[in-house]
Symmetry: C2
Subunit: 346 residues, 2 copies
DNA sequence: AAATTCTTCGCAACCGTTTGCGTAAATAAA
DNA sequence: TTTATTTACGCAAACGGTTGCGAAGAATTT
């Protein structure tokens, strides 16, 4: 063990060692012009030597800027979000930003508390995918009021909100899934939807209805279910659906967890899939590819979503989002593409 | 839109409004004693009214303490880590701490850079699960030298390091998996291992060998493979294994991704599983439960791991980890239990 | 009533960086 | 050589909280 000193070096230390002022050190570190080349080299050498690292808190306090971005998602264990986050983090890191990742666990209360905390740490921006139940977005006002830009993605506000919005084409996803089932001669298509407090399920449901209408089919209420999309709930719904005839000939589930559970249930019941029941899921969860039969689903391209988010974010952060106080109309809404992945469950 | 002022309130603002000094406001916010009850109430009321939130940077700068904890993991999309992180975050949040989650992407360089960044933001502690290839741990010295406690989990240093270590019982996991296969009369058990630069694979491999030895079997080098545990690599290994007879009668893979790919390969080859080939994985990835046949695997209880981590962390953070400069021996090493989950692939 | 203790609060320094302003030295222009 | 301009750097005041010290007033003791 070397007897290294346990010293947090400051620019004052460096200044003393080099017979310079802290101001000069700071200017070197911030690439200010008007500092002698030789001085700059000496400073950089010393920085290397003692392993100096700028104190982010002091820097942030003084300059009123940080290079940390906050992120709030329902849960990181959801495949889609995990992928998006990974992309965001890697891309942002290249721009010199850090990411504070927070989970709301689909609790509005936690989401509120997290926005307060992120505000307290004066993050440079906040990226949000809302809880299932967020219908009032006023708790994000504390951010926008303080010029902290907000980007919503995936689960976004239904009403206009002064923030950039990036969402998948859920309407199209619902439409593609349902149309495909209709093309395969299904006519009694059940839909397992999430709660309609959440934008994505509203749109997927709308896509489902549109497709049904185009085939002149009415949406039978008794074949559409709204609840949190857990395996347990999906099982209950399947039991309900198969408690009386006529059985549905297809299920379009708004996420893969439900679709997988539907498949599980069908297999237990001895139903042939896709023979007697066809199933389509949503999100292209890795599990959907490896079940038997493999699951037809909607791909959301999470990596692409992450890249779009970072692109917009960097635009906002570099561009001086100063007092501009732009109108709601000035914030872009970007819709990213989705794609039907045809597998064996249809 | 209300014309709310875009003002970052400071304790000076509050002080002015209440005809008090900033010091008093600060004492109220920090629950210092010796402040009049009435005054306290007035301050708290004003805090509520204007929506004041303490500036974490200013606070951290002055008090030289932060309530953010850094976390470095290879990738959050790994099921085990996602679960651990979720638990850590939820538990820590209850203690008033935030979590900065970072991914090294299994790159040692990124891991180094991330520790530097976390040091720069003067986090209260750092939790690390190393990359596959981290054998030199000196880049963490910058943390320990500056009294930032470090907790390693899962993938931990092989050599003594002055930090708390929390690891699963990988030796036992390897032993349980292999013994179980041996009990089922398997004798040609292949092992797909990760690189031995990583502690967990060393131990799982050791458990495998121990079990084999107890059955008087030598470990045939040609049945043991070391590489990153991706699906692609597992496929190559399976091809190799089944390129010549005698075929192995079982595969113990050190993670579920490899086990699942092994199963996939076996099915493609028309091998009956578990009839002709038995497979055991590791981690109890959600996918392992839903494949056909379902996968026997080792449960690591990630939620428990997360809780243990937080318990230790809080102990460290509350206890003044001051100049103590404890010897390596003073840091605990905790080994958490694992369990064999018997399913249909054996 | 005087002396002592306790309660409540303000003063001011400090945490480590940043940055406008000022100034001395060096260079260019007159 | 004198004057104007540029370059290189230091001074000192912020940024928003925290905290030791001290002081005024209230409560208690003698």
């Amino acid at each position: 063990m070397k007897k290294k000193q346990s010293i947090q070096h400051s620019i004052h230390d460096l200044a003393r060692r080099l017979h310079l002022s802290p101001a000069t050190i700071s200017r070197v570190l911030n690439n200010h012009p008007h500092v002698h080349k030789e001085t700059r080299n000496k400073v950089m050498a010393m920085v290397e030597k003692v392993g100096y690292r700028r104190n982010a808190m002091a820097s942030g306090l003084r300059s009123n800027k940080t290079n940390t971005v906050g992120l709030i998602v329902p849960r990181i264990s959801m495949f889609f979000h995990a992928e998006v986050i990974t992309t965001i983090q890697n891309e942002l890191h290249a721009y010199g930003y850090q990411l504070i990742i927070c989970q709301s666990n689909d609790s509005v209360e936690v989401e509120k508390e997290l926005t307060r905390t992120l505000h307290a740490s004066r993050v440079a921006a906040v990226i949000v995918s809302c809880t299932l139940f967020t219908t009032d977005f006023s708790h994000f006002d504390v951010l926008t009021e303080n010029n902290i830009p907000v980007i919503f993605y995936d689960r976004v506000p239904a009403k206009p909100y002064p923030a950039c919005i990036i969402k998948g084409d859920d309407f199209r996803g619902g439409y593609l899934a349902t149309s495909y089932l209709l093309e395969q001669s299904c006519r009694r298509i059940a839909h397992i939807s999430g709660p309609l407090t959440c934008s994505v399920y509203v749109d997927r449901f709308a896509g489902y209805r549109q497709a049904m209408q185009e085939y002149g089919l009415s949406v039978a209420d008794k074949r559409v279910f709204f609840h949190e999309l857990t395996a347990e709930n999906a099982r209950k719904t399947m039991k309900e659906l198969f408690s009386r005839k006529p059985y549905p000939d297809a299920v379009f589930a708004a996420n893969d967890v439900s679709a997988l559970e539907a498949l599980h249930f069908a297999k237990e019941m001895g139903l042939r899939v896709p023979g007697e029941l066809k199933i389509v899921g949503y999100s292209n969860d890795p599990r959907s590819a490896i079940v038997t039969p493999s699951m037809t689903t909607i791909e959301q391209f999470p990596t692409n979503t992450g890249k779009v988010i970072v692109t917009e974010l960097v635009k906002i952060l570099k561009g001086d989002h100063s007092k501009g106080s732009a109108a709601v109309a000035d914030y872009p809404t970007i819709v990213t593409a989705v794609e039907l992945i045809k597998r064996k469950s249809v």
